[in-house]
């Protein structure tokens, strides 16, 4: 039982990170019907710039309190990623908005490769370790262990998701985003500045990616120019699982994928009597994805089009 609870906790933490990144994919898709394949790399840039700032601050003031250094790093990551998100949209997607749909997909992959290699040139090939400034406390819960960091990650993700939902549902910008998602032309005719809305979508999505990036590097204790690739792929899958274009779907998909992965890796070996080992954890997660898509091609929550943003 305690092992099961622990696996659930593992899955929820991983899943809330997936969910944050998945939101970025789903927001852009909702509005532009474009898969922003560079989004995983934006996460990586967020993590790396936070690590760089935190490292520099600690280098200059070794005694600086973590409560000051950490927010500074996160803030820097958010700024960098917001700017990056804006630039990516402006340079790689906006010029191609009326081009065949495959063209922006290719530029997305191009941007992703450029970002990866630029990060390799800037931060080098080595793994950068997260400075040991994080709280190390842990609490027993139902026989399992949950650490301070895990509590922070899950709480922060939930708050951000709530905030984003409020933004989309309750604000003027949110209404403009929903209108643009339904029909770009009509929204434009109604006086919505579509370009601003699209830029805002990219900027918000990138800010979420920055936060997720910092979370990942803090949770696993490392940053690397390659870290965005797998994370992006998983988050993209989570967005599809939940129904791409749907905000609640991305959150649900992220959490589900995290939990399925954890439970899959934890139990598949014992359940199959060692025939399938934990090396099948990704296979397991993607099998669930395929099954869901066979029966619900639009994803778990994919049909409520009105809610997408």
């Amino acid at each position: 039982m305690d092992i099961f609870v622990q696996q659930l906790i593992n899955g929820l933490v991983l899943g809330s990170i997936y969910a944050l990144v998945a939101l970025g994919y789903t927001m852009v898709y909702g509005i532009l019907e474009l898969i922003n394949f560079a989004h995983g790399e934006v996460t990586m840039v967020g993590a790396m710039s936070a690590l760089a700032v935190i490292g520099a601050l600690l280098g200059a003031y070794p005694q600086a309190p973590a409560l000051l250094v950490l927010p500074a790093g996160v803030l820097a990551a958010i700024m960098v990623c917001m700017a990056l998100g804006y630039v990516i949209e402006r340079v790689a997607y906006r010029p191609l908005r009326r081009a065949p749909r495959l063209a922006p997909l290719i530029t997305a992959i191009g941007v992703s490769i450029v970002l990866q290699n630029a990060a390799m040139l800037i931060w080098g090939r080595s793994y950068i370790s997260f400075p040991a400034i994080l709280p190390h406390g842990s609490h027993p819960i139902l026989g399992a262990v949950i650490t301070d960091l895990q509590i922070v990650i899950v709480t922060l993700s939930v708050l951000i998701m709530l905030g984003l939902t409020l933004l989309v549902e309750r604000t003027r910008l949110g209404r403009a985003m929903r209108a643009t998602a339904q029909s770009r032309e009509v929204a434009e005719l109604m006086g919505v500045n579509v370009n601003t809305v699209i830029s805002a979508t990219f900027i918000i999505g990138s800010a979420l990616a920055a936060i997720a990036g910092v979370m990942v590097s803090a949770y696993y204790g490392l940053g690397h120019y390659y870290m965005g690739f797998m994370l992006g792929l998983k988050a993209f899958s989570a967005a599809v699982l939940g129904g791409i274009g749907n905000l609640a779907g991305a959150m649900l998909g992220g959490l589900l994928l995290g939990v399925i992965e954890a439970l899959g890796a934890g139990y598949i070996g014992d359940l199959t009597g060692g025939f399938l080992g934990s090396n099948y954890q990704d296979v397991f997660a993607f099998m669930v994805l395929i099954l869901v898509l066979v029966f619900r091609p639009s994803g778990l929550l994919g049909e409520r089009v009105a809610q997408r943003a």
Binding site: L96, N117, H224, S278
Partner: protein, 383 residues
Amino acid sequence: MRWAYLGLPIVSIAVATLLAGCGQGKSTAANEATIRIGSVAPLTGPQSHIGKDNDNGARLAVDEINAQGLKLAGKPVKLELVSEDDAADPKTAATVAQKLVDDGAKAVIGHLNSGTTIPASRIYHDNGIPQISPSATAIAYTAQGYNTAYRVMANDAQQGRALGQYAVTKLGAKKIAVIDDRTAYGQGLADEFEKAVKAAGASITAREYTSDKATDFTAILTSIKGKTPDLVFFGGMDPQGGPMAQQMKRLGLRAQLLGGDGLQNINFLKLAGVDAEGVIASSPGLPLAAMPGGPAFKQKFEARFGPIQVYAPYAYDAVNVLAAAMKRADSAEPAKVLAELAKTDQSGVTGPLRFDAKGDIAGGSVTLYRVKNGAWVVLETVK
């Protein structure tokens, strides 16, 4: 206007290709005869720091040999190191190997990983090109019966045996969990370890798997925790081992973490942080400080490239073994070099260099280390 925009995707891909291709393929001096030697390691991806280290080790040796001046058949020749990136991926490794063969490489130093070295070795063998791997330790590499396959490092049979015996007899472990990263290296080492552990009378309570790109091990570690082992063995590299050590502590899994040469490097210490304390790992060969040419090499290398990651001395030795064979053959002709390579008997930075009939290093040793106060401390060297 719109036509200009259409160039964008092309430009971004071109830039990406250019960036990715950085540092590959240098132009050659025309007046001297040049001999191309391939150097293959992952230069991109999660293991690129170790790959670059190997490449730098080989480059240092090549530059030294060129500075001294190499003469074959009375004519001065220059060695040209052609660095290729296999991204630690077996498929890419085969492509890159074919490319080197097509480009007329006379010999190859590499690859870094066992998983890439083995598929590539077939291509080098089919074309009769000598291959010396600085760091591939899987038994399968030299067990294929290829006369072209050599390595300058002890193989996994020796390492796995040393680790397994140490775990059971010295550490007194009775219930052991084994994790590997499903690469030829990780899996091979874990299998050898498992054999040795069973032979020594301990039991394997869990066998779990991950990949060489994963960073989350909480699920398998939680499952392992439920089986209360006294020791966890990981067959894999530092990018996985570091977070694994942290996650073990975080989950309250109080078992000794034991690993092979993939963990025994400075990067592991950085990545695991305070949680590295007490981890035990082995490395083929002697510790750098105890290598005959270790301290001098460290000085030379670090003045030029920065800290040694792990295998650079072996890549350096591999180039020197190759150059010595060329000198004795008085030719760079692969067939003649191969005949001389088998007769290698010299002392390198890492120790005496002689090969057995299979191409394995003869009399290789394995050293065990433990992390103490944030540094690797030698426990013992096993012959």
